[in-house]
């Protein structure tokens, strides 16, 4: 039979399915007070892993607080925080192998930090200086590192989704026991690329984890104006892939779901969709003001579900963290971020010669001529091109 549907039942009167026909449970392991639910099956986690996860949480909180402040002071042009979504991002990345390739949307800097991106590297990108791996070409927060298997961020939404399908397939063909993980928001899941990417992954058996951060808003647009179906998870089932919905503010639930998703995807060369229910506590970006579209009361309600606090309480219950150690960690990163910030902001911007590099593997003769003409012009009017004057 070529039409691969799986209807086993025949009916003889009209009856429609609706969005409630599919009951999608939500995985919760950790309660608000830091204790676990009775009968909860915990992920594989020891003290060292828990400490690395928590360390990344604290770093991310400090980075977001300091750099949003730096943006407000005019020291960097733009910033985006991932406040409120740390458990979704870090809990999932912590379930991966370092050889798994991350294709993120833009709000996942906690993931590249978990992989080892240094504070100095963050600052170099944010200040677009000559040490930025991206050569100062993209706005702040567009991180990327080949060494860390974290593909460079591209602002257009959802383009990374079918790409992740291709990366996952390539890892399979290269015989690696690795997969691709693709992060995106519930807004991006409305783009055509989402549907193309998920269907291709399912049809072509690409080992890929599609990780949706359902954080309630696409800039100002709330989920109820984005879709009316049963979340994003229902679509995974529609494309024929293993699917799970988790509490995205529950570090242990995200970790458990992603650990098992990974094992399944690698073993079966198959994609998995994870929908993490979370909330964007901050603005969309430093250019946005959420007071125009949501209430303070709503934000305060979600503050009570703070994922970092919940995980901290669990760590303390386990005897793996004290208040004093916690304070020391925050202090350490506040000092480190400030110190690296002061260094990075004084470094020169990339040389004007980099302007024509990487358009192609080698600059074309026409590009070389354009650069030469530009340099002659800068020499004539140095005061109008302060970034390049004196260096041409």
């Amino acid at each position: 039979m070529s039409n691969a549907t799986s209807s086993t039942e025949t009916v003889h009167r009209v009856s429609f399915l609706d969005k409630d026909s599919m009951n999608i449970p939500i995985l919760k392991i950790l309660q608000a007070d830091g204790t676990t639910y009775e009968k909860a099956v915990l992920p594989v986690i020891d003290q060292a892993l828990a400490e690395k996860i928590y360390d990344t949480c604290v770093f991310t909180r400090v980075l977001d607080e300091r750099m949003l402040g730096a943006q407000r002071q005019g020291r960097i042009s733009f910033y985006m925080t991932c406040t409120g979504e740390e458990a979704s991002i870090i809990g999932s990345t912590a379930a991966l192998d370092d050889g798994d390739v991350i294709l993120a949307q833009y709000r996942e800097h906690a993931a590249i930090r978990y992989r080892g991106f240094t504070t100095e590297q963050f600052m170099n990108q944010l200040f677009s200086n000559e040490k930025d791996l991206g050569k100062g070409r993209q706005m702040p927060i567009h991180y990327g590192s080949e060494a860390l298997n974290y593909q460079t961020i591209s602002s257009p939404l959802a383009t990374q989704i079918p790409q992740a399908t291709g990366v996952g397939y390539s890892l399979k063909m290269l015989g690696k026991r690795n997969l691709a993980i693709c992060y995106f928001g519930e807004g991006a899941a409305s783009e055509g690329d989402f549907h193309a990417g998920l269907n291709m992954a399912a049809v072509l058996n690409s080992p890929t984890i599609f990780f949706c951060r359902n954080n309630g808003y696409a800039i100002s647009t709330p989920t109820e104006e984005q879709f009316v179906g049963n979340g994003i998870a229902s679509r995974g089932v529609g494309y024929g892939m293993h699917t799970i919905r988790v509490d995205g503010n529950d570090m242990l639930a995200v970790l458990a779901a992603t650990q098992q998703a990974r094992a399944y995807a690698i073993e079966n060369n198959a994609p998995v969709l994870i929908e993490a229910m979370t909330y964007r506590l901050g603005a969309h970006s430093s250019s946005d003001d959420p007071s125009g579209y949501r209430s303070k009361e709503e934000e305060e309600k979600w503050q009570m579900h703070d994922p970092v606090k919940r995980f901290k309480l669990w760590m303390m219950n386990k005897g793996w963290l004290t208040e004093e150690q916690d304070n020391q960690l925050y202090d350490k990163y506040r000092q480190e971020v400030l110190a690296e910030l002061k260094v990075a902001e004084k470094l020169p911007l990339p040389h004007v010669d980099t302007l024509i590099q990487d358009v192609y593997d080698e600059p074309t003769p026409r590009l070389k001529a354009q650069l030469e003409s530009l340099k002659q012009h800068v020499k004539k009017y140095p005061e109008s091109y302060p970034n390049s004057a004196g260096r041409v």
């Binding site: 993209q138 602002s155 807004g187 696409a218 800039i219 104006e225 302007l355 354009q370 970034n387």
Partner: protein
Amino acid sequence: MAKINMLQAINDALSIAMETDDKAMLFGEDVGHFGGVFRATSGLQEKFGKQRCFNSPLTEQGIAGFANGLASNGMTAIAEIQFADYIFPAIDQIVNETAKFRYRSGNEFNVGGVTFRTPYGGGIAGGHYHSQSPEAYFTQTAGLKVVVPRNAYQAKGLLLASIRDKNPVIFFEPKRIYRANVGEVPDEAYEIELGKAEVVTQGSDITLLSWGAQMEIIEDAAKMAAKKGISCEVIDLRTLAPWDVETVANSVRKTGRLLINHEAPLTGGFAGEIAATIQEECFLHLESPIARVCGLDTPYPLVHEKEYMPDALKTFEAIKASVKF
């Protein structure tokens, strides 16, 4: 007559379009209650209701296809693409559908009621994806009109004309000057005819031609040139497709020289098309090669934005070179 900025003028035009045409609908990402990320549609959902002014899901191909569907059935579709950099998922709908709806059906159907508004251009530290000027991808597509206003007054009249035009229009809005450009704009409705360039400043030595936010750049260059005794005729093309060959050619026959400035990269940019046409029309009148001052042939950069931009100084240098040729 009030002094308002370009965003207010656009908002005003949209409001008039909705008031005077009950088949007009306004939609796109965040355009509803929030009023758009630049606030161009601020207050319009309150005025016209959620059925006519609304947020779309986050899908540009969906927005464009939906607009085509509305217009094919007689509605007036005013769709916003949040940034011109994000128009590309919609390019199949726009290039293969919007542009060819009338032609392919022998005029059984058309989507002349579609207008796509989209902010374009750089100068805002936006990097690759909040800075591009993709007009040339669309000027090569027969069946689309492409319009770019230079100031608040022009924006209101050209947008109203675009919405009411019987053909699909892509209306590129110069976001760099959205708020900075303030001018007197009549309260009442008015239209500025599409397909007509405007001679902004009369001159005798060289014709400077541009559109959108680059108009103030070439006007600055013209002032610098005037101090050197060079008289520039400044023209705003306003509509790129179909473009006003006659006005430009008449000017070049008078001045003997032409400089075209645009923010998009040089190679494949619309200046090439203008230069080719004008050398055909005015060959024996030309006293120097037609000059193009454009973006470099690179993706739109971030830290080297100043170096990339076809600014007033580069334009001034090109004016002098053209006159000295």
